[in-house]
């Protein structure tokens, strides 16, 4: 499964319209459900829907910004050092997110904790920078980053909602039944199990509509 810089073979860039570039990341080539990228934050922060949303948006921001910068500077970077160069660019934007979140959204920052600096090693971000940003114009890179990022966010919110509904009988922090949920879904095992079922459901749906 996930190769280090995945997805190169999945599509032909030349024949795609801008709309396609944006759209495919949402569902057809969804980072989480289809490409299985960036699984650590997917499992780690989705005990509630709001955490999933925060993490998804933070990742989207890093994805878009680093794709733009990579596509702007691509011709100045010698091939052999391109990965380290991309990593520095990505790490910078991650630090920006980290600092801004600590200053303006301290509650969310505390909840996401370790997983914010770890956006750096999210294979999705480096993968998009390498496979798309480094070969396309900044405008296309933005579309690609936005599509992939929103697809990632969608997956996180979906999984977060599912776990929150089952585990604490609430959604986005609003409790709809005054009772205890199925605790296991908030705990670590529930993350694996919920994601497993979600991917299975999507696999089945994909077959039915294909």
């Amino acid at each position: 499964m996930p190769p280090i810089l995945p997805g190169k073979h999945l599509w032909k860039e030349e024949s795609m319209t801008n709309k396609d570039i944006f759209k495919r990341g949402l569902i057809k080539e969804n980072a989480v459900f289809v490409q299985l990228l960036g699984m650590c934050p997917v499992l780690g922060v989705t005990s509630t829907a709001i955490n999933g949303l925060g993490m998804g948006l933070a990742t989207t921001f890093v994805l878009i910004m680093s794709s733009i910068v990579v596509s702007l500077v691509k011709s100045f970077i010698p091939d052999k050092v391109r990965i380290p160069a991309f990593i520095v660019i990505i790490a910078s934007f991650v630090t920006v997110v980290d600092l801004v979140m600590a200053g303006f959204f301290p509650g969310l920052h505390e909840q996401l904790g370790l997983f914010i600096p770890l956006i750096v090693v999210n294979c999705l971000v480096l993968g998009r920078a390498e496979a798309f940003g480094s070969k396309n114009t900044p405008f296309k890179a933005v579309l690609d980053g936005l599509g992939m990022g929103l697809g990632f966010t969608l997956a996180l919110v979906l999984l977060g909602s599912m776990r929150e509904i089952l585990g604490s009988l609430s959604l986005f922090g609003l409790k709809f039944v005054e009772a205890d949920g199925i605790l296991i879904f908030v705990l670590a095992p529930g993350a694996f199990i919920a994601l497993g079922f979600l991917i299975a459901i999507i696999n089945v749906l994909k077959k039915r509509f294909a």
């Binding site: 050092v81 920006v96 301290p106 705990l187």
Partner: protein
């Protein structure tokens, strides 16, 4: 534009430029966010203090002093709360290294005779859903108005008086331990100020 060749000079040069620009940009963002971050942390501290002590009208953060933990080289921050010049309580920022992963930090409020007024959880990395329940009202309630002099802060399993959280005995132990450290430090190190 043609791609730069991978000569040694080009590689070192381009990497250095990128790193330099990145550090400069981060330095700028850091300066920009420094104050909001400090303000957010201060607000968190003030909020924690205000829930663990009764009403006060001084500035506990300004009046903060350090007191040595008896039998240790470390010291704890104590935030005294005065109402019209009279000491009504003190919040002690205490920790225990006995959690599952890393320290458990609490803010423990004591009234002058050493009884616990209230406790709030500051920082920890305990298991979500199990250890994190130490912040719940149902767990914290048992500590209120108890004086550690005659309320043993060990869990019942260890012969103490604390009802441990289900599935999180270690966390409950660490909680009690941090509260006990706070009490000891407050009683022995804190009174003279």
């Amino acid at each position: 534009m043609a791609k730069k060749e991978s000569t040694f000079f080009n590689m070192v040069f381009s990497l250095s430029v990128i790193t330099l620009v990145a550090s400069a940009a981060l330095g700028y963002v850091y300066e920009f966010t420094k104050e909001p971050i400090a303000a957010a942390q201060l607000a968190k501290k003030v909020r924690a203090i205000s829930v663990v002590v009764p009403e006060y009208n001084n500035n506990p953060v300004e009046d903060m002093y350090l007191a040595a933990i008896p039998g240790s080289n470390d010291s704890l921050e104590i935030y005294p709360a005065y109402q019209n010049g009279e000491l009504v309580a003190a919040a002690v920022r205490s920790f225990s290294p006995k959690g599952y992963s890393g320290n458990v930090w609490l803010m423990v409020g004591f009234i002058p005779d050493g009884s616990i007024f209230d406790i709030s959880v500051l920082e920890h990395k305990e298991t979500p859903g199990l250890g994190t329940k130490m912040a719940d009202e149902s767990f914290k309630a048992q500590f209120r108005n108890k004086n550690p002099q005659n309320f043993n802060l060990k869990v019942k399993k260890d012969g103490g008086d604390v009802d441990a959280l289900t599935g999180a005995t270690i966390t409950s132990r660490a909680f009690g331990d941090a509260a006990y450290t706070a009490w000891k430090t407050f009683m022995e190190g804190g009174k003279h100020d």
